[in-house]
């Protein structure tokens, strides 16, 4: 993982200062560095590592309402891999990822590129307004969209009826996944756009100055100069989206209030783990599910990175 060629792209400025001092200076600097990272890692260990280990410990046990607990080894993991509800939830999120993420990131990329050209009026306003949903809590966003989706009083249905399209049923079991995709897209396009936009602003002008003078159109420049240049930032948003998608929790749990027939207990893996722990009172099994989920996310993220690197290498050697 650490031997990828990309590692060599370290910024010069980030490289350590040349060593001109004695080893005592070096030691002093090491101590300073440790002291700098210490506060973060104290909280990190206490709030992430310890609960994680504890949770891993819990996942090795089996508890019953009658008869108490017993060491179960990997039984919970075996059960999880055969649990059709869990596998279906992973599949559902896979579908979510394949459809929603490209739309969301595509839209974010389009907006970022459009804003970067500076050719639209009120760019600053656009940027701000598109980013605004990020500041809306998931609780409020889902509540709001719940009303907007409403078949009788939701404005979307009102408009649809007025123009003769009939009443769309956003909350039916068939459509709920799409409706959820929409909420997540609405919440996070702005966030991803900002990441990409920041990356675009950092492309040195000289890179496409030449192209522009050559008379290349904006689309060409965007496609062959800008997008390749911000590929790492795009990769970052993809990774975040993988993590975000497979960890979806607030949206399904809040949508369950208005569409309990459409949102099953195992709608998303994370929501399933939660319900296992809190409704079924199977905390240990829930811990195993959560562990597998984390592992799965790590593997998918790694594969995405790897394939992206391979592609880049291929392109580099081709040119």
């Amino acid at each position: 993982m650490s031997h990828s060629p990309a590692l060599t792209v370290e910024r010069p400025s980030a490289a350590p200062p040349p060593m001109r001092h004695g080893s005592s200076t070096k030691r002093k600097q090491n101590i300073a560095a440790y002291l700098f990272v210490l506060p973060f890692f104290v909280v990190f260990v206490a709030m992430l590592v310890v609960p994680l280990v504890y949770s891993g410990y819990l996942s090795l046990f089996e508890s019953k309402l009658i008869g108490g607990d017993a060491f179960a080894g990997l039984a919970n993991y075996v059960r999880a891999l055969q649990d059709s509800a869990f596998l279906a939830s992973i599949g559902r999120m896979g579908l979510f990822f394949v459809i929603q993420v490209p739309i969301m990131l595509g839209l974010a990329l389009f907006l970022a590129l459009a804003l970067d050209t500076g050719r639209a009026r009120g760019s600053k306003g656009v940027r701000l307004l598109v980013f605004m949903p990020y500041a809306v809590p998931a609780v409020v966003a889902t509540l709001m969209w719940g009303y907007l989706y409403g078949p009788d009083f939701g404005p979307i249905a009102q408009v649809a009826r007025a123009v003769g399209f009939g009443t769309p049923d956003f909350l039916s079991p068939v459509n709920i996944l799409g409706s959820m995709m929409n909420i997540v897209t609405w919440e996070f396009v702005g966030y991803n756009m900002i990441i990409m936009y920041a990356a675009l602003r950092s492309i040195p002008g000289e890179l496409y100055e030449a192209a522009e003078i050559d008379g290349a159109g904006q689309f060409r420049i965007a496609w062959s100069v800008k997008i390749p240049a911000i590929r790492p930032a795009i990769l970052l948003t993809v990774i975040f989206s993988i993590i975000g998608t497979f960890q979806l929790f607030a949206e399904p749990s809040l949508l369950n209030a208005i569409a309990p027939d459409a949102i099953t207990n195992s709608f998303t893996p994370n929501y399933y783990a939660y319900n296992l722990a809190f409704i079924n009172q199977e905390l240990n099994y829930a811990a195993a599910i959560a562990f597998l989920l984390g592992l799965f996310i790590a593997i998918v993220s790694y594969i995405v990175q790897l394939s992206s690197q391979r592609r880049e290498r291929r392109e580099r050697s081709a040119s």
Partner: protein, 450 residues
């Protein structure tokens, strides 16, 4: 209090009951009084005259007023009322706090169907030694059986929900129906007439509303659940009678005579207010609730008993209702018991619960009080609705039981029954699926299933 709709909005909270089993420890004792015999009058006096702080978890709005009466009577005792959520989140928080060994209240509101799960975890105090036995005659039988299913007494009944039929007289009249349907057969005929004449549904069957369906079972004499207080449960949600109920609703739904909207959300509220539903088969807490929801239709509604399975019979089911229990971990069990008792037994307090919070009373003193039952309700065209439900209350089957894992029961109901009802599928067939899941869960959890 009615069975709160199981909203996921409220799904949060940290129940850790599984961890409780895992760590193998059960909190508190539950037998402090049991070993030492009954509490004496001196002990009671002493406890009530010692400065004491109590915490009371409940979601009854403005119950502070009743608590104030208690504090007035016992000035040494200071009660903090806390609303930690309604229904499910409330129980999850309660379990977490019990498991954590601190932060649990002294007294907690618990709906009847959840009592067994707290009995199972030995979290409740047996109130027998504190004198609760003496109260048994002061409540309707079946409500008392809910809090005292066996030897022990686990809580004091607070309110109940005997079921009836609220309907729009004007809409039914348009369909030529002048008397509320007396039998389910008549109800089905009326449903057809109402739909044809007015386009309204005669009522709505909340797709995921287990409480309502279980209420119907209760009326039909189905005994879907049983629990011996130890390790044995009985589960039979797919009995012939249950299937009869299910098939009845399947037919109405498939003919589009009854809607299956999810209840207790804004769409559903509006359906009640704008005549989409010409009626609501609900519990005794329903009338006032409806009044607040459909103000615009005041005077048009009437109340009647549920339609019957056999002509001439009078049987009802129950939907919802709560009790107040004392937790085994309470350090001031005597004062805590007195609080639970006072709120639901003191005449003034009980009357306030019925007339200010509109909880339907299980207390005979209120049910027999003319100030309560003779009240005429304008919303129902001057009908004495309280009187009607007081009569219905006497017809509720007395030995209905629950399982010690109702969270799971309701959650699987949504998964198995809820989706089928929403899809207008065969509800009777879904009962088998529900049954299978419940049995397999119970066995996995180590229960003996009869």
């Amino acid at each position: 209090m009615r069975n709160a709709p199981r909203t996921a909005l409220s799904l949060g909270a940290g129940a850790v009951a599984a961890a409780l089993i895992l760590s193998g420890c059960t909190p508190g004792g539950g037998d402090e009084g049991g070993d030492n015999g009954p509490i004496t009058e001196e002990q009671r006096e002493e406890a009530l005259n010692t400065p004491t702080e109590l915490t009371f978890w409940t979601w009854v709005p403005d119950i502070e007023n009743e608590v104030a009466l208690f504090e007035e009577k016992y000035p040494e005792i200071d009660v903090t009322v806390e609303n930690v959520g309604q229904g499910l989140p409330h129980y999850q928080k309660l379990r977490s706090a019990i498991e954590a060994g601190e932060g649990a209240p002294d007294v907690a509101q618990i709906e009847y169907q959840y009592i067994p799960s707290f009995v199972l975890s030995e979290s409740l105090l047996d109130l027998t030694p504190y004198g609760a036995e003496d109260l048994s005659g002061d409540y309707v039988d079946w409500a008392w059986n809910q809090v005292a299913p066996d030897e022990a007494i686990w809580a004091i009944p607070q309110d109940v929900g005997p079921m009836g039929n609220l309907y729009r007289e004007d809409i039914l009249a348009q369909a030529g129906i002048t008397e509320p349907p007396a039998t389910w057969e008549e109800y089905a005929t009326a449903a057809r007439a109402v739909k044809d004449a007015t386009g309204s549904y005669i009522s709505n069957l909340g797709a995921t509303q287990a409480g309502q369906m279980i209420g119907f079972f209760w009326q039909r004499g189905v005994k879907p659940f049983g629990y011996d207080g130890e390790e044995t449960v009985s589960i039979e949600v797919n009995s012939d009678e249950a299937k009869e109920v299910a098939t009845y609703w399947t037919e109405l739904i498939q003919q589009d005579l009854v809607s299956t909207d999810v209840d207790f959300n804004d769409q559903w509220y509006q359906g009640l207010a704008n005549g989409k539903y010409a009626g609501w088969l609900t519990a005794a807490w329903g009338p006032v609730f409806l009044q607040g929801t459909a103000e615009g239709t005041s005077g048009l509604w009437r109340a009647a008993p549920l339609p019957q399975w056999a002509e001439g019979e009078q049987v009802a089911g129950n939907w919802g209702g709560s009790s107040d229990a004392v937790l085994a971990s309470s350090e001031n069990p005597i004062a805590a018991y007195e609080l639970a008792k006072f709120i639901n037994h003191d005449e003034e307090s009980a009357m306030m619960l019925a007339t200010e919070q509109f909880l339907y009373p299980p207390q005979l003193s209120v049910l027999e009080d003319t100030a309560f039952i003779d009240q005429e309700s304008e919303f129902y065209g001057g009908q004495q609705v309280n009187k009607l439900f007081a009569d219905i209350s006497e017809t509720v089957d007395t030995d209905f039981q629950w399982l010690p894992f109702m969270d799971y029961v309701y959650s699987t109901y949504e998964e198995t029954m809820g989706t089928v009802i929403a899809d207008k599928g065969d509800i009777a067939a879904a009962l088998d699926e529900w049954q299978d899941q419940l049995v397999s869960y119970a066995e996995d959890q180590g229960f003996t299933v009869e």
